[in-house]
């Protein structure tokens, strides 16, 4: 072999790039929990357009901008007049329309895109179970929605805490107001994410998915309207069950009471049906999640 003898005679060259060929991977392989966490974080980043094109960032950040602006304005007005304009829970209620549009854009981004591009076989041929994929996406959307409502609530809290005239006691009272508000925001997030993601997971076409999400949330409100003017007190009080938004408000009125409606019974009356609303909300979330998992047991196999 002339080549090897020549190489032996020649001094070893320095600064040469070697093609070291294929390297086997000997390093750490993470387990199911960490993979789930990675997919969850990836989903959460996707929800706010991180790691995506500039176009994908426009809408989520527009909504974030609006809700933050409203929160800052509320805090500013409150510091001037010394009276809260809206409670934390009322703020979440008032922002529900924006939440719906946020879900309509982000849920298709999370699931419809993967359906459309046919990338799911690449996920499902990996160790990650199918249910983990669906749950990680769901959890990411819940977190995104909760941050969307909870973040501005925190802004309102900071505004109130820094302008309070009662010292630490005022801050403490404000915190006691904030915590139920954050829980209520969590309820919005769970209900809207589970229903929205289920609807979006049914189609790979993003426009259809977005339309479907808006339709489910908005088309159901006329039903509530009709039921609430029927000449039956029970029908009126149960009307809120017909639409996800009013369902969430019903649970809020039952559990938070004056934090949401402030003494004034308001336009929405649930009578003694509070527990029914709570049960309906639990069933809705559980049912939507079960259907989502069933959907991902079948898809792309």
């Amino acid at each position: 072999m002339p080549e090897s003898t020549a190489a032996a005679v020649r001094p070893a060259p320095t600064g040469v790039i070697h093609d070291i060929g294929y390297q086997r991977y000997q390093g750490l392989r993470l387990g199911r929990r960490q993979v789930f966490g990675a997919l969850y974080l990836h989903g959460l980043r996707t929800a706010f357009g991180f790691g995506r094109s500039a176009k994908a960032k426009i809408f989520p950040w527009l909504v974030v901008g609006i809700v933050s602006l409203v929160a800052v304005a509320l805090a500013a007005v409150r510091s001037q007049i010394g009276e809260p304009v809206a409670t934390y829970a009322q703020f979440a209620d008032a922002m529900s329309w924006l939440v719906i549009f946020f879900v309509a854009v982000v849920a298709p981004e999370l699931v419809s895109r993967d359906l459309r591009s046919g990338v799911l076989p690449l996920y499902f041929s990996r160790p990650l179970p199918r249910a983990d994929y669906a749950l990680a996406k769901l959890l990411a959307l819940v977190t995104a929605l909760w941050l969307l409502l909870g973040g501005p609530q925190l802004l309102m809290f900071l505004g109130a805490a820094f302008t309070t005239k009662q010292g630490m006691r005022g801050v403490w009272n404000e915190l006691l107001d904030l915590l139920p508000g954050l829980l209520y925001a969590g309820l919005w997030a769970v209900v809207f994410a589970s229903v929205g993601l289920l609807v979006a997971s049914l189609t790979g076409k993003r426009a259809f998915a977005a339309g479907g999400v808006v339709a489910v949330f908005l088309m159901t409100t006329p039903i509530v309207g009709v039921l609430s003017i029927l000449p039956s007190r029970a029908a009126n009080e149960l009307a809120g069950l017909a639409s996800p938004s009013t369902l969430v408000q019903g649970v809020g009125i039952w559990s938070l009471g004056d934090l949401l409606v402030e003494g004034d019974p308001g336009e929405m009356m649930i009578g003694g049906f509070g527990p029914v609303y709570a049960l309906a909300a639990v069933l809705l979330v559980a049912g939507a999640t079960a259907l989502l998992l069933a959907r991902y047991r079948k898809v792309a196999s």
Binding site: Y22, Y25, S117, L122, S125, S301
Partner: protein
């Protein structure tokens, strides 16, 4: 160690459509070609090997693990390249392969490093930062191969890797698959409906048709055992054929050629002797390797 073993594997869809029927096969590590016409059950077999669908009956084991019992353990060590388009157009190849590496359990930095390594090995360099939507079919196939390779599997399942490629692209892809199987030390099951394509790179060939096993063997065993001698004489072909038949050689006619199976070196002597005896002008006498395709053709005929 047996790489893939199946025992009476059967898959029927809805009790009527039979995708696999009583398939029993065992193959050693190496490059395995899985050939069959469209609808022969190749993709179904791959999905069963991955544990994506459950067989109706029968046993299966991949790398010594049963994918129906522990699919995650199998998928940890297997890379899969699907037949169809599966790449999100707005992501870059680097982002996609890194993300899928993480989905296979690689830590963040390892995933990034191995993604660029895998893309480099399949021949994608600066392009890997551009969105996949702008790639040619050949480049997309390479990205699909890279994502199957990113987590350093012990076995690659490639479903029609040459689909949609031009002849040059096919050759490049086959060369790449061959390199993975030989230099990288990764076993490869490559699926194709084109026998001529996979027989060039495979050690072992599995042929299925209508969900049934036609044949599974080492490619060397398939070809060497059936070498034939082609004899051509300028005139007197009939006489020679008759003479050879008298010598108990199974002669076949193929146009102006006489084909005689090569049993051993004695076959040469018998033929040359016959030609000399009849005093015929010998035009040529050479050894011909049977194409694997012919094997299956004759086999099917004898079975019919």
């Amino acid at each position: 160690m047996t790489l893939i073993a199946t025992q009476s594997l059967t898959k029927t869809y809805g009790g009527r459509v039979t995708a696999l029927a009583d398939l029993t096969v065992a193959v050693e590590p190496g490059i395995i070609g899985l050939v069959g016409a469209n609808g022969a059950g190749k993709s179904t077999l791959i999905k069963i090997l991955l544990g994506l669908i459950a067989p109706t009956s029968g046993q299966v084991s991949v790398l010594g693990i049963d994918p129906t019992a522990d699919p995650a353990a199998v998928r940890n060590r297997v890379g899969y390249m699907p037949e169809h388009d599966c790449l999100p157009p707005d992501l870059s190849a680097a982002e996609l392969v890194t993300h899928l590496g993480r989905m296979s359990g690689l830590p963040r930095t390892a995933a990034r490093e191995r993604a660029s390594e895998a893309l480099r090995h399949v021949g994608l360099y600066e392009e890997r930062y551009r969105p996949v939507g702008g790639y040619s079919t050949g480049m997309k196939q390479r990205v699909k191969l890279a994502q199957a390779l990113v987590h350093d599997p012990d076995l690659l399942l490639l479903d029609e890797p040459t689909n949609g490629l031009d002849p040059a692209g096919r050759d490049a892809m086959l060369a790449l698959v061959h390199r993975i199987g030989t230099e990288f030390g990764i076993s490869v099951l490559v699926c194709s409906h084109l026998l001529g394509e996979v027989e060039r790179i495979c050690d072992t060939l599995i042929a299925i048709d209508g969900g049934k096993l036609l044949r599974a063997d080492h490619i060397s065993a398939m070809t060497s055992a059936t070498d034939v001698l082609a004899v051509e004489v300028s005139e007197g072909t009939e006489e020679l054929a008759a003479r050879l038949a008298e010598l108990k050689l199974p002669v076949a006619r193929d146009g102006r050629l006489l084909l005689v199976p090569l049993a051993d070196d004695g076959t040469y002597d018998l033929i040359l002797g016959a030609v000399a005896e009849l005093d015929l002008p010998l035009h040529r006498l050479d050894q011909r390797r049977h194409r694997v395709a012919e094997l299956f053709a004759t086999r099917e005929l004898t079975h019919a």
